[in-house]
Symmetry: C2
Subunit: 393 residues, 2 copies
Amino acid sequence: MNKTIDFRVTANDGEARTGILTTRRSIIETPVFMPVGTQGSVKGVRFEWLENELDARIILGNTYHLFLRPGHELIGRFGGLHAFTTWDRSILTDSGGFQVFSLSDLRKVSEEGVEFRSHLDGSKRFLSPEISMEVQAALDSEIVMAFDECPPGDAGYEKTRESLELTIRWAHRSKTKFDELARSGGLSERVESRTLNGSQALFGIVQGAGHHDLRSQSLERTVEIGFDGYAIGGLSVGEEKDVMYGVLEHIAPKMPADAPRYLMGVGTPEDLLEAISHGVDMFDCVMPTRNGRTGGVFTSNGKINIRNAKFSEDHEPLDSECPCSVCNRYSRAYLRHLYQAGEMTASTLISHHNLSYYLDLMRLTRDAIKSGSFSAFKKATLARMAENDACGV
Amino acid sequence: MNKTIDFRVTANDGEARTGILTTRRSIIETPVFMPVGTQGSVKGVRFEWLENELDARIILGNTYHLFLRPGHELIGRFGGLHAFTTWDRSILTDSGGFQVFSLSDLRKVSEEGVEFRSHLDGSKRFLSPEISMEVQAALDSEIVMAFDECPPGDAGYEKTRESLELTIRWAHRSKTKFDELARSGGLSERVESRTLNGSQALFGIVQGAGHHDLRSQSLERTVEIGFDGYAIGGLSVGEEKDVMYGVLEHIAPKMPADAPRYLMGVGTPEDLLEAISHGVDMFDCVMPTRNGRTGGVFTSNGKINIRNAKFSEDHEPLDSECPCSVCNRYSRAYLRHLYQAGEMTASTLISHHNLSYYLDLMRLTRDAIKSGSFSAFKKATLARMAENDACGV
């Protein structure tokens, strides 16, 4: 089989590493943060800004949401999510599994898959490894995720072990269906521009909650099946921070070195630096945009909230070290006013800045890794954040 | 006294005319549509788009809203609304009078001014001609509006006459206070870039509801006081369309030909063309952005609503004749999906297009007037709109 993505590690610094991930649509430097485009739009930020200023090379799309609305059949008839949304750089789609567990009621998990009620209209829907692959084929994302079950962060050993077994069986079925779709051309022949072999790539997901031996087992058996990349699922789902960091330290360095390592749905800037120190390459998280909508601002001096009255006459930008078009132009006072006045442009501008912050943090991180100074960079960056958090900024 | 704005008529076509309005901050071709920036932001559309693509040369700011939040003192300390918002082209501020009547409870009108309850927190506030001038001086807009009383569109003759008398007395007081502030420098010395004499311009407002003789009287006495431009107030406030059109036909051609004529808060594309045919030069209205937030789309073939299910797989742009970046890129199907999914980017993109439509309609109108074909242009444009409206699009 031809290659669907290409991944090369370009520098190592301890366990941390930089790399180049190439898909049929874009060249992505890692470590990379992927803005979340849940429903075919990165909330509040026009694609034009993501392309021209922020230079995001890959975004995430959510299978669960798009499956329910507008439906993958409709998107498929348009030729996939790129054609439907006009975003023509890379897209990674999740499998829908996580949102079934976090957003819908009345889930019924069977060997076959998961029956659930749509959070939109209460209708009964069903997802399985095969259906998830079909949906993701219709979406025509560059990177497809295997369909998994995600146990709660505090799940006991036995429950986690059982869930893991199911996830492994589903991983096999995902791979089988995915290969079948790839051989038959799936729906992907509708897309014209291709630089690699024109097919999608499939990532496997390592589960096991906070249990290190189960994580190891999950990794080993997932690698046996054989995927184009490997993700760590089931973190940042309610467990303590040190549990997450323990799992990352334990499992990330053991993941195949020649494939991208993706930590799903995580997290704060601190979490990203920690994960990178253990060799993780890819991240996605709603924090920059979700915080943007509630006035939360990420800065090089830690997090602030624009609602705070002390910003009401503050002439400074959100982050004086940030090169983004929001920080270049608008004051904290103006942005606070827009927020207080309920103007949607407040969400737009703060989300834009927050994405700029995350993408820039990854740029600085890559530079530090390349120059062999990641450890010092991480320490200094965390210290600045902690200092301000301690001041209650 | 030096000139604060410059206005030259450049072409006439019947009563319709084109002109160049120059303020200390921008050169504005008329007829002009001014996007409404109620609270220091044109809802949903970043200034960058208004400047770089839509090329709006003047926007409106609302004195009532800014007086209540964040307060004109705060904006004044920043050096005015331009410095506070970073919008450095022209701004016209209304007097606050209209919103006092449309948004707040418990208005008590006296000779001195209007006491009202803030719609934000119920606090008692007071506006008068003098206070309105002080607020608008602090906002440092290029064009200041006299403080007026706006009677309901269906007000009887006697009530309208009394209101008109009060408006005339308030116009005198507005002028007196405005001149005093201009002589003392007001707050405007804080702004650095000036091309004219550095002061603000003041427009008077013609009232009189649907009574033509009262409109004439109001115009005559307002012109006697002497302003830099003249506005028609109190239209599109609940009266029948033919009443509004009757007033426009009656009063607009009688307004001073060498000063800008501004129709406040109006209206639909049809209204604009009608008013222009009687010699009006300036317009503002929330319709493009308010409709944008509820899925209403203005197109060269009439109005559509993107919520309509028939657009769910429509590959066409909102308006195939529109040159804007939204129509250049996004399909109706995608925009409908964003709207149905509650994505704020739907509001952003449709508002952007609607403003493009309004600004473009004014460009086409100016071209038609210059080439002496306005009447035919108006007829053809209205016919296309009506045809589609008749089809229930």
